[in-house]
Amino acid sequence: MDSSNLTSVIKHWVELYSDSMYSWAFYKTSNKEVSEDLVQDTFMVAVQTFDTFKRKSDPKTWLFAILNHKIYDHYRKNFRSPILIENASLQNLFDSNGSWTPEEKPQLWGDDTEHLLDDTEFQKTLKLCIGRLPENWSMAIHFKYLDERNSEQICQELGIATTNLWQILHRAKLQLRKCLELNWFKK
C-alpha cells in the first residue's frame, strides 16, 4: 500500500474510532492530557506497524489492543516505588490487640454480588472508591487486575518485592471494602 493510501485509511480510522479510544483511555487514566497522548501514540504505532495488521482482523480490535498496551505502559512508567505509610482511614480498623473494632467488623454483603457490575450506579461507586485510593495503591490495583500478568511479572516490572506488592494490595482492598460498605452496602 502506498503512503497516501495508508494515510487515508488511518485518517478514516481516526474519524471512526478516536472518540471511543479517547473515552476509553480517559476512563482508565482519569487524565485528559495523558489520554490524548495515549491515543496519539496509538495511531503513530498503527502507522508504523500497519504491515502487521491483518486485513481480516477488525481495525477497532487492533487499535484497542495497541491502546491497552499503551495504557499498561503508562502505569508501569509512572509507578514510583511505594513507601508503605499507614493510611489514616485504616488506622481505626483494628484495636490494639489486632481485632476488628466493633464498628469496622466486616458484615456479609449478601449473596447477589454477581450482578453488581450490571448496575451503572454501582460502577460509579466502585470507580469513586478506586479514585480515593492513594495514587500508588491505585496503580498497583490497576496493574494487578488490568490484564493477565501474574504477581512475579508485576513485581519484576515495577521493581518491588512480592511482599511489598501484596501488602499494598491488602491495604488497598481494606480501604476499598470500607468505602464500598459506606457508600453502597449500608445505603
Binding site: T7, I10, K11, V14, E15, S18, D19, S20, M21, Y22, S23, W24, F26, Y27, K28, E36, V39, Q40, F43, M44, V47, F64, N68, L93, F94, N97, G98, S99, W100, K105, P106, Q107, L108, W109, T113, L116, L117, Q123, L126, K127, I141, H142, K144, Y145, L146, D147, S151, T162, L165, W166, Q167, L169, H170, K173, L174, L176, R177
Partner: protein, 83 residues
C-alpha cells in the same frame, strides 16, 4: 498468645496474601483456624474474593462502549494533521 492464634489484622493480611502467593503450611492452618472462629474475618474472606472478582471485571472489561463517551474533536484534528 498461642503461636497458632492469629489476630484479625494478621488474618486479613493472610487472606489477601493468599490471593496472590501460596501460603506456607503453617499460615494455611493458622488462617483456617482463625476464620473458623471469627465471623468478621470469615466475612472479609468472602469480600476479598468478591473484590477480586469485581476489580478484575471492572478494570479488565474490554467494552469501550460501556464507558461514558466523550467527543474530542481537537484531538481528532491534531492526529489527522500529523499524519
Amino acid at each position: 498468645m498461642h503461636t497458632l492464634m492469629l489476630s484479625c489484622r494478621k488474618a486479613s493480611e493472610l487472606i489477601d496474601k493468599k490471593s496472590m502467593v501460596k501460603l506456607s503450611f503453617k499460615e494455611n492452618i493458622q488462617l483456617h483456624l482463625h476464620t473458623s472462629m471469627c465471623a468478621g474475618c470469615k466475612a472479609y474472606q468472602k469480600q476479598s474474593k468478591v473484590l477480586d472478582h469485581l476489580l478484575q471485571k471492572h478494570l479488565r472489561s474490554n467494552d469501550p462502549l460501556g464507558v461514558p463517551q466523550v467527543i474530542n474533536n481537537d484531538l481528532k484534528n491534531e492526529i489527522i494533521s500529523k499524519l
